[in-house]
């Protein structure tokens, strides 16, 4: 199924922000925005739901903590207790001060790495993936807003977008793979 989209290109992030707000308040649907750098407050302006990655980070941290506790309990207490500096090594809680740095490190390690992996999976990024970027200039100094053009008067929409400050506008028939 083909979708009709309009690509509007802006040359300034402030202009883009303003255009995004105007476009949304005129009840047009913005399907995607491409920018060379993160624009502050853009996600909120486009109306994207807030990220839930913080929740996953907390859960991954708990997983890391549990792994650390289970691992050290097995290695240092159950399987092979060692006498290190005369420290008691027969129960977990007697030895816990020595384990706390490792518990901390594994909490951070799990939270950090799993969070990055989650982020890649969620944004459908993997090695050798072809870039989805429609216009290479958006990796340099241009900002691109993708607006749904179906069911809209193209002429009116084009004029509207020019009025928001777009420097270029192009109509695209996009093959969607779903």
């Amino acid at each position: 199924m083909a979708a009709t989209k309009i690509y509007a290109i802006y040359k300034d992030d402030d202009l883009l922000m303003q255009a995004v707000k105007q476009t949304r308040s005129a009840n047009y649907h913005i399907s995607e925005v491409f920018t060379p750098f993160p624009v502050h407050g853009l996600d909120h302006a486009v109306g994207i739901a807030p990220t839930r990655i913080a929740i996953t980070a907390f859960l991954y941290g708990l997983v890391g903590l549990s792994v650390a506790v289970a691992m050290m309990n097995f290695m240092m207490i159950q399987d092979w207790p060692q006498n290190i500096g005369g420290k008691p090594s027969f129960t977990f809680y007697q030895n816990m001060p020595a384990f706390i740095p490792i518990m901390f490190e594994l909490t951070v390690f799990f939270a950090g790495h799993l969070m990055v992996i989650t982020f890649y999976m969620r944004s459908k990024l993997w090695p050798f993936k072809k870039a989805e970027n429609p216009d290479p200039r958006t990796t340099d100094d241009h900002f691109l807003m993708e607006v749904d053009a179906e069911n809209h008067d193209l002429e009116m929409l084009t004029k509207f977008l020019y009025d928001t400050g777009a420097s270029e506008i192009s109509l695209i028939e996009k093959e969607e793979d779903h």
């Binding site: 913080a54 907390f58 500096g85 005369g86 008691p88 001060p97 020595a98 706390i100």
Partner: protein
């Protein structure tokens, strides 16, 4: 413009009067002679005559927490035997009764010192936070300058009281001031070049002068900036803040050694100064947040948004973790090395103050981390207030545990002198800070970053 409401003013004066009465009561009711102590001890014996005998220090108990955690019977008893800091002989006392007498006589001093220092360090910590804002030319915080200046107005009276306490606390508070003790003690003789009474006073005067002079000039420059049409006053404040921060970091370390570490003059820890700083800083930021919430709820600071509160709560969260990090670093090294001179510090705290010692960790670490972890909760005032109460109570206990085990030992009790001291200094704090906030407009006009701060958004 804020004016301290009549009710609050009356309330603070009542607190001061009640507290003062309690403090005086505490000083008057200390035992005067060894006979008094014998009477008290006989009474205690009557209450629970089974477990304790006069040897004290929990020697009689066979199973205690430290031994159990070490997996070594009699470990703590052996360690304490060698600790001259905490033993009767260490204080130059001839008998156990005399030692207890000295500890009981020191108790009202300790109780007053803990509360006096707790409120003074809040004002001092806020002053440091304020200096950091200037030195880093922070853009988010200028809307809070007048609030911080209001809190630091407590520094002058607070620091003078603390100074008077440490000067007059005497030889049972600071054992190294006892000449007879030093004469028989090789370690204290080696330290006498630094730990001697005249130099101790000189250092105290230097701290007080340095901190209060910076507070006076930074406040004056900050007020002058409001009426100026150039940025000269701001530039002067920037320079003053940079030099103050250098001065503070040096004097804070020696202050921690002088006023706290020298309570047990044989014991030392290289992390100690940072640890005191962490306590000071997290309590200070917590109080900034509390005062901000209070003023905001009265509608006096419409230019402060929930973004500013969010940032303050982030600092509370971060520095609670920082405090725990330093606390644990100090604890773990001493626990691991297990050197008799060092471990006694923690043994007495764990044995005699177990609930406070571990409760403090929950209040200062577990609660703030759980309450303030969620980003949205940091903008909800009552959530921040709950976390603030945990943090302030926890850090009062922290200061309590720095002082009491070293001066009063196992004869501690949370009674009239301790509560009265808190009431007195809380009342004084409310009165002085409330008056200090009220003198000028709460909006720092003409600050170069005020516009950025008001539009602060993230």
């Amino acid at each position: 413009m804020y004016t301290l409401p009549r009710n609050l003013k009356l309330f603070s004066i009542v607190l001061i009067v009640l507290g003062l009465a309690g403090i005086i009561f505490g000083f008057l009711t200390t035992p005067k002679t060894i006979d008094d102590v014998k009477k008290i001890m006989a009474e205690q014996e009557g209450h629970h005559g089974d477990a304790h005998h006069t040897a004290g220090h929990g020697d009689g108990q066979t199973a205690n927490f430290v031994d159990e955690a070490r997996g070594q019977e009699g470990y703590s008893q052996n360690a304490m035997k060698h600790a001259t800091d905490l033993n009767p002989e260490g204080h130059g006392a001839t008998s156990h009764e005399e030692h207890v007498l000295h500890q009981l006589q020191t108790r009202p001093w300790s109780a007053t010192f803990v509360a006096a220092f707790f409120f003074m360090m809040i004002a001092l910590g806020v002053l440091v936070f304020y200096a950091i804002q200037f030195a880093s030319q922070a853009g988010w915080s200028p809307v809070l300058y007048r609030i911080m200046e209001g809190i630091t107005s407590y520094l002058l009276p607070g620091s003078i009281i603390v100074f008077l306490i440490v000067v007059f606390a005497g030889t049972h508070f600071y054992p190294w001031q006892d000449q007879d003790l030093v004469a028989n003690d090789k370690i204290l003789q080696d330290k006498a070049g630094y730990l001697n009474f005249p130099f101790f006073i000189i250092r105290g005067v230097i701290y007080l002068l340095g901190w209060n002079i910076y507070r006076y000039f930074s406040r004056r420059n900050s007020l002058a900036q409001a009426d100026a049409n150039n940025y000269d006053a701001y530039r002067k404040n920037f320079k003053a803040s940079v030099f103050f921060l250098i001065f503070f970091l040096l004097t804070e370390a020696t202050m921690a050694w002088d006023w706290f570490m020298s309570l047990t003059p044989h014991w030392y820890s290289t992390l100690f100064a940072w640890y005191i700083f962490a306590t000071m800083f997290v309590s200070a930021i917590t109080v900034i947040a509390l005062v901000t919430i209070y003023l905001k709820s009265r509608g006096l600071i419409p230019f402060v948004s929930d973004k500013h509160l969010h940032d303050l709560a982030k600092y509370m969260f971060a520095f609670s973790i920082f405090w725990t990090y330093l606390w644990f670093s100090q604890f773990m090294l001493i626990w691991y090395a297990n050197i008799p001179e060092e471990v006694t510090y923690f043994i007495i705290r764990i044995q005699e103050y177990k609930v406070l010692f571990f409760g403090m960790l929950i209040l200062n670490f577990v609660f703030p981390i759980l309450v303030l972890m969620n980003s949205d909760y940091k903008r909800v005032p009552w959530f921040v207030v709950i976390a603030a109460v945990f943090i302030l109570v926890g850090h009062y206990i922290d200061v309590f545990l720095l002082v009491m085990p070293s001066t009063v030992g196992h004869n501690w009790y949370f009674g009239i002198p301790e509560v009265a001291a808190i009431l007195f200094f809380l009342g004084l704090f409310i009165l002085v800070v409330g008056t200090g906030l009220g003198k000028v407009s709460l909006r720092p006009k003409n600050d170069p970053f005020i516009k950025e701060s008001e539009n602060y958004h993230f």
